[in-house]
C-alpha cells in the first residue's frame, strides 16, 4: 500500500515537472497572424506627397484594409503603405481618403475611426474616434471638416486638434457630400436597418456656418453619389435601394432653388449604377454600370453602352484624375483576392494597370499629382 503511494508521488512529480517545463517554454513563439506570402515590399520612397493613393477596403470584419501608393516620380507601386510606416494594420473596411494640408485622413468605417497620417512619411499623426461608422470626409474650410456616418449623425472634425468637435443629428445613414457655396450638400439614405420602403432618401442642405441642416431635397432611393458640374448644377446618383425597390436614377438639382430639375431613370432596376464622378472641366459625368459609362452633362439621355466594357471584371471603384482627367477603375475580382487598378485616358484607351490590395474601392490624388 505504502509503495503505491510512493508511486503516486512519483507520478505527480513527473507531471508537475512536465508542466513546469512546458510553462518555461512558453511565451517565445511568433504570434500567429495573417501575413503576405510574398516577402515584404522593400521599395523605398522618401515622400508620399506626389502620387495616387488607392484605398483598399479589405473584407468586412477581417481587418485587412490597406493603402496602395502609385508614385508619380519614380513610377513605383508600393503596397500596404500604412502598415509599412506604422507597423500595424489600417483596420477594418477603409472607405475613403481625403487630403487637407499635408495630412491624409483615412476613414476606416468598421473600425469606427479616422487615421490621420502625414503625407511625407505616412506615419500616423493621430486617430480620430467617437464617430458612428464613418463613410466620407469633406473639408469645409481650414478649420473644420464634416464626416458622414452610417448611424445617427454627421461628425464635425476640428482640423486643428483633429478631434470630433460636434455633431449634426441626422438619425440615419449619410453617405456622400460636396461643398456648394457656404453649404454642404449631403446625401442621406435613411435609417440603416430599415427596408427601402421605409427609408427617406434626401439631400441635406447644411449651413456650414451654423453647422445645422437648413433644408432638404427629396431624391430617389439610396442617393449614393453627388457631384457639381461647370454650371453649378448638382448631380445625384440614386441606386434605387439595396432591395431593388425602384429603378435607379440620375437626377439633376438646381442647388440655388433647391429643386430637382431633371430625372434620368435607368431602365433595368437590377443593373445598379454606382460611383458617380466628374471630369476636371466638370462637363462630363462618369459612373459604373456594366463598365465605365460616360455622359456629357448636356446629354438628353443616359448612355446606352459603357465606354469601357467590364469584360467580365468586377469593376468596383472609380475616380477621375482631377488634373489629367484619366479614368482610374478598379477590379475587385471576387473580393477575396488582390484587386487590380486600370488607368485609361479620356477616350477610354488603357494606359496602365496596377496591382492593388483587397477590394480597391476609392482613390485619393495628391494636389500636385499629375500622372
Amino acid at each position: 500500500m505504502k509503495e503505491k503511494y510512493i508511486n503516486s508521488y512519483k507520478f505527480l512529480l513527473f507531471f508537475s515537472l512536465l508542466t513546469l517545463a512546458a510553462l518555461t517554454h512558453s511565451c517565445s513563439k511568433t504570434p500567429i497572424r495573417e501575413h503576405k506570402v510574398d516577402p515584404p515590399d522593400t521599395t523605398h520612397i522618401t515622400s508620399y506627397a506626389n502620387g495616387i493613393f488607392v484605398v483598399n477596403e479589405g473584407n468586412y470584419n477581417w481587418g485587412n484594409a490597406s493603402v496602395t501608393f502609385i508614385d508619380n516620380k519614380s513610377n513605383a507601386l508600393i503596397q500596404d503603405i500604412f502598415k509599412k510606416s506604422n507597423d500595424r494594420s489600417l483596420g477594418d473596411v477603409a472607405e475613403s481618403m481625403k487630403i487637407a494640408d499635408n495630412l491624409g485622413y483615412l476613414v476606416v468605417n468598421n473600425s469606427n475611426r479616422i487615421e490621420v497620417v502625414s503625407l511625407s512619411d505616412f506615419k500616423s499623426v493621430t486617430t480620430i474616434t467617437g464617430l458612428n461608422s464613418p463613410r466620407y470626409l469633406e473639408i469645409v474650410d481650414s478649420t473644420k471638416a464634416y464626416v458622414t456616418n452610417l448611424q445617427k449623425d454627421i461628425s464635425i472634425i476640428d482640423l486643428h486638434t483633429n478631434t470630433v468637435s460636434g455633431t449634426i443629428k441626422t438619425n440615419g445613414w449619410t453617405e456622400n457630400l460636396i461643398k456648394y457655396d457656404k453649404y454642404m450638400l449631403v446625401t442621406s439614405i435613411g435609417t440603416f436597418s430599415d427596408p427601402s420602403s421605409k427609408r427617406r432618401a434626401q439631400i441635406f442642405v447644411i449651413d456650414t456656418q451654423l453647422d445645422a441642416i437648413v433644408d432638404s431635397i427629396q431624391t430617389g432611393k439610396e442617393p449614393i453619389g453627388i457631384v457639381i458640374d461647370k454650371k453649378q448644377k448638382v448631380w445625384v446618383l440614386c441606386s434605387g435601394g439595396y432591395d431593388n425597390y425602384e429603378a435607379p436614377s440620375l437626377i439633376r438639382i438646381n442647388p440655388e432653388l433647391r429643386l430637382v430639375e431633371k430625372i434620368f431613370t435607368f431602365s433595368n432596376p437590377a443593373e445598379v449604377p454606382s460611383r458617380l464622378c466628374i471630369n476636371p472641366t466638370a462637363d462630363t459625368l462618369y459612373f459604373l454600370k456594366n463598365g465605365v459609362c460616360q455622359m456629357p452633362v448636356a446629354a438628353a439621355v443616359l448612355p446606352v453602352q459603357p465606354m469601357i466594357a467590364s469584360e467580365g471584371r468586377l469593376l468596383y471603384g472609380l475616380a477621375v484624375h482631377p488634373a489629367t482627367g484619366h479614368i482610374y477603375v478598379s477590379d475587385a475580382k471576387d473580393y477575396v483576392q488582390n484587386g487590380t487598378v486600370y488607368q485609361y485616358n479620356t477616350s477610354g484607351s488603357l494606359l496602365k494597370q496596377y496591382t492593388a490590395g483587397r477590394i480597391p474601392g476609392s482613390f485619393c490624388f495628391t494636389r500636385n499629382s499629375s500622372k
Partner: protein, 646 residues
C-alpha cells in the same frame, strides 16, 4: 528516497501553483470519471459497410463532458473546425467542403438550421449525448442528401442493466468560467429514463495582444450563458418493440465580441438562441425484418442585435417524419427502403413573409454479400422539394475482407450528390436568389481498415487509411454585390476540386499496471478553385481559403494508481486567406493537458481533475482578426454514485 520524492513533488506543485494565477481556471475543463479502474475499451470503432464510418464512444467523451462538440472533433478527428473564438461560432469542414456540407444530427434528427444550413458546434455540449458517429463523404447519403463532407450523428443509448446512476459535476475555469452538469439515469430491464441538465456561464474576457492598439487588452463583450436539459425515455417490450421519447432544450445568451481591429469597449452585439427538439421513435424488430417509425418536432428561435441598429428575430419550425423498413429475409441480401418527410416553416424579420418548404425523400439501401469476402452496397435517394424532383442521388460501395481471421477490410465507393439552396439563399430580403440551382457533387473514395486485439485484451491497435477525390459544381457562394458593399448575394459561382488522404492510428496497451493509449489522426486535403470569375481572376488551382492542407492530432493517455493523464496536440497547417493564395494564416499547434485522480469513498466516487489548455501559451488566431486565449486552466470536481446495475 521517499521523503525526497515527496518534498520534490510538493515543491514542484507549490511552484506550479505560484505560477498559475489563482483567478484563472480552465476555459472548457474536461473531466474524467472512470468508475472502474482501467476501463479502456475500444475507443474507435470502424463499421464501414462499404463506406467510411467512425464511432467515438463514451470512453473518450467521458473525459470531455464539459467541452462542446467542436473541441471533441478538433482533438479526435480530421475534421477541421473554423472557430471564431472560445464560446463563439465554430463550424466543421470535412474533406475540403464548407460547414453547409456537413449535417449534424441528434438521434437521427438534423440540427442544421434550414435557414443557414449549418450548425454552430459551440452550442452543443458534449454532456448531452453518449456517443458520436461520423459518416464520411458518401456514407452520409444513407441519412440525407447534400452532406458532401459527411454527417455527424450524436447518439444517446439506454443501458438496460442500469437501475440508478447519478453524476454531479462542477468545474471552474479561467476567465470566470463555471460549468455545472447533473446527469441521472434510472430504470428497469424494460424501462429507462435519462435526465441531463447543463449550465455554463463565462465572462470569457481573456487577455490578448492587440496588434492595432499595440498593447494587451481584454476581450470585450464575449461572455456567454448556456443552459439546457434533455429527457429521454426508453421502453422495451419483449425485445420486439422499442418506444422512445427524447426531448432536448437549449438556451444560449451569447455576447459577440468585436474583431481585434474593431476593438471597442462599448461594443454591443448579442445573439440569443433557444431551441427545442422532440422526437418519438417506435421500432419493431422481427427475425427477418425491422421497422422504424419516427416523428420529430424542432423549434428554434434566434434573436440578433447590433447596437441599436439591428434587432432581428428569426424562428423556424420543423416537422420531421421517417419510416424505414429493413428486410434481411433473402439469403446474402438485405434491403432497407425508407421515406422521410420534412416540413420547414420560417418566420424571419429578414424574409418577406412566412416561408415554407416540404421535402420528401425516398431512399433505399441494397446490401449484397458476394461470397464471404466481398460485400456491395447501393444507396439510392430521390428528393422531392415541394413538388419538384431533384436528380437521383446514388452511391455505390464495395467492401473486400480478404481473411477470415484478420480484421482487415478494403473499401471503395463512388457517389453523386446534390445540395439544395438554404432558405436564406432563396429568401433573404434583398439578397435571396430564387434562381439558384442545387450544388452538384461527384466523389470517389477508397480505404483500408485494420484492427487487432490481443487474446488477453491487453493490447489493441487500429489503423485506417482513406483517399478521396471529389468535385463540386455550381457551389453557392455569397459575395458582395457590385457597387454595394453592404449587400451580399448568393450565386452558383464556384467549382471546387477536393482530394486528400485521411489516416488514423490508435493503440492501447496495458503493462506493469500502466494503461497507455494513443490516437493519432492525419489529414491531407487539397481543395482547389477550378473556375475563375473572369479572365483576370487568379484563383484557378489555388487552395480554398481557410482549408488547411495538413491537419494532425495526437492524444496520449496514461493511467496508473487511479491517476490519469491526457496529453493532446492539434496541428493545423497554413490556411490561405485570399483566393489568389497571396495571404496566409500561419499553421500552429495547440497542446492541452488533463491530469486527474479518482478517489473511491464509501458509496461515492470523487474525481478531481485539473486541465491546462494552450499549454505553450501560443498567441494565435484561427480566423483573421479573431483573438484566441492564451494558456488557461481549469479544475473539475465530480461526484458519482457508482451505477447500481442489475
Amino acid at each position: 528516497m521517499t521523503r525526497t520524492t515527496k518534498y520534490l513533488s510538493l515543491f514542484s506543485m507549490i511552484l506550479l501553483a505560484a505560477i498559475l494565477p489563482w483567478r484563472n481556471y480552465a476555459e472548457n475543463p474536461a473531466d474524467t470519471l472512470k468508475l472502474k479502474e482501467f476501463e479502456v475499451k475500444s475507443k474507435y470503432l470502424y463499421d464501414n459497410n462499404c463506406f467510411k464510418r467512425v464511432k467515438i464512444d463514451s470512453a473518450i467523451l467521458i473525459n470531455h463532458l464539459n467541452t462542446d462538440l467542436s473541441g471533441i472533433l478538433a482533438q479526435y478527428t480530421t475534421i477541421f473546425i473554423k472557430s471564431y473564438g472560445i464560446g463563439n461560432l465554430a463550424t466543421p469542414s470535412f474533406r475540403g467542403t464548407t460547414a453547409q456540407h456537413t449535417q449534424v444530427e441528434w438521434n437521427g434528427i438534423s440540427l442544421n438550421s434550414p435557414m443557414l444550413g449549418q450548425v454552430d458546434l459551440s452550442q452543443i455540449p458534449v454532456s448531452q449525448f453518449d456517443g458520436l458517429e461520423i459518416l464520411y463523404g458518401a456514407a452520409g447519403i444513407t441519412r440525407t442528401s447534400g452532406a458532401f463532407g459527411g454527417v455527424i450523428n450524436l447518439v444517446t443509448n439506454p443501458n438496460w442493466n442500469n437501475i440508478l446512476n447519478v453524476l454531479a459535476m462542477q468545474s471552474f475555469g479561467s476567465f470566470n468560467t463555471f460549468t455545472s452538469n447533473l446527469n441521472a439515469a434510472a430504470g428497469t430491464g424494460s424501462f429507462q429514463s435519462h435526465t441531463k441538465f447543463n449550465y455554463s456561464v463565462a465572462a470569457n474576457d481573456f487577455p490578448y495582444y492587440n496588434d492595432l492598439l499595440k498593447t494587451t487588452v481584454r476581450q470585450q463583450n464575449s461572455s456567454y450563458r448556456l443552459y439546457g436539459m434533455s429527457e429521454e425515455l426508453f421502453w422495451k417490450l419483449k425485445d420486439k418493440h422499442l418506444f422512445s421519447i427524447k426531448f432536448r432544450f437549449n438556451h444560449n445568451d451569447q455576447n459577440l465580441p468585436p474583431t481585434a481591429s474593431n476593438y471597442d469597449t462599448h461594443h454591443q452585439e448579442k445573439q440569443k438562441t433557444q431551441d427545442l427538439f422532440a422526437v418519438i421513435d417506435y421500432k419493431y424488430v422481427e427475425k427477418k425484418f425491422s421497422l422504424l417509425v419516427r416523428s420529430a418536432f424542432a423549434d428554434q428561435k434566434m434573436n440578433y442585435s447590433l447596437d441599436s441598429s439591428i434587432n432581428d428575430s428569426h424562428q423556424y419550425y420543423q416537422w420531421i417524419n421517417k419510416i424505414k423498413f429493413t428486410y434481411t429475409g433473402i439469403r446474402n441480401f438485405s434491403i432497407r427502403p425508407g421515406i422521410d418527410f420534412t416540413c420547414d416553416q420560417v418566420n424571419s424579420d429578414s424574409y418577406n413573409g412566412v416561408k415554407k418548404r416540404n421535402t420528401t425523400s425516398f431512399c433505399s439501401e441494397f446490401i449484397y454479400d458476394i461470397g464471404k469476402k466481398v460485400k456491395a452496397s447501393l444507396v439510392i435517394r430521390e428528393d422531392m422539394i415541394d413538388s419538384k424532383f431533384l436528380p437521383l442521388v446514388p452511391a455505390l460501395g464495395v467492401e473486400y475482407v480478404p481473411w477470415k481471421t484478420i480484421d482487415l477490410a478494403f473499401t471503395m465507393n463512388m457517389a453523386r450528390n446534390y445540395r439544395y439552396p438554404t432558405l436564406n439563399d432563396l429568401y433573404w430580403t434583398g439578397s435571396g436568389n430564387a434562381d439558384l440551382k442545387p450544388e452538384t457533387n461527384y466523389a470517389v473514395e477508397g480505404g483500408v481498415n485494420y484492427k487487432y486485439t490481443s487474446g488477453n485484451r491487453k493490447f489493441s491497435v487500429g489503423a485506417s487509411l482513406a483517399a478521396y477525390y471529389s468535385w463540386i459544381y455550381q457551389m453557392i457562394t455569397w459575395s458582395q454585390v457590385n457597387g454595394n458593399a453592404y449587400l451580399w448575394k448568393p450565386e452558383n459561382i464556384d467549382e471546387i476540386k477536393a482530394r486528400g488522404i485521411e489516416t488514423g492510428l490508435n493503440f492501447s496497451i496495458e503493462f506493469l499496471h500502466f494503461v497507455i493509449g494513443n490516437t493519432s489522426n492525419y489529414s491531407f486535403c487539397r481543395s482547389t478553385y477550378e473556375k475563375a470569375s473572369s479572365a483576370y481572376d487568379q484563383k484557378i488551382g489555388k487552395q480554398q481559403i481557410y482549408i488547411p492542407v495538413h491537419t494532425f492530432n495526437n492524444t496520449l493517455t496514461v493511467e496508473r494508481w487511479k491517476f490519469y493523464l491526457n496529453y493532446n496536440i492539434c496541428y493545423v497547417s497554413d490556411r490561405y486567406t485570399a483566393k489568389d493564395n497571396l495571404t496566409v494564416m500561419p499553421g500552429y499547434s495547440i497542446s492541452n493537458i488533463i491530469f486527474g485522480r479518482n478517489i473511491a469513498l464509501k458509496k461515492i466516487v470523487l474525481s478531481l481533475q485539473s486541465q491546462i489548455n494552450n499549454l505553450f501559451n501560443l498567441d494565435y488566431q484561427s480566423l483573421v482578426d479573431r483573438p484566441m486565449p492564451g494558456i488557461n486552466y481549469g479544475i473539475t470536481v465530480k461526484l458519482a454514485l457508482p451505477g447500481i446495475q442489475r
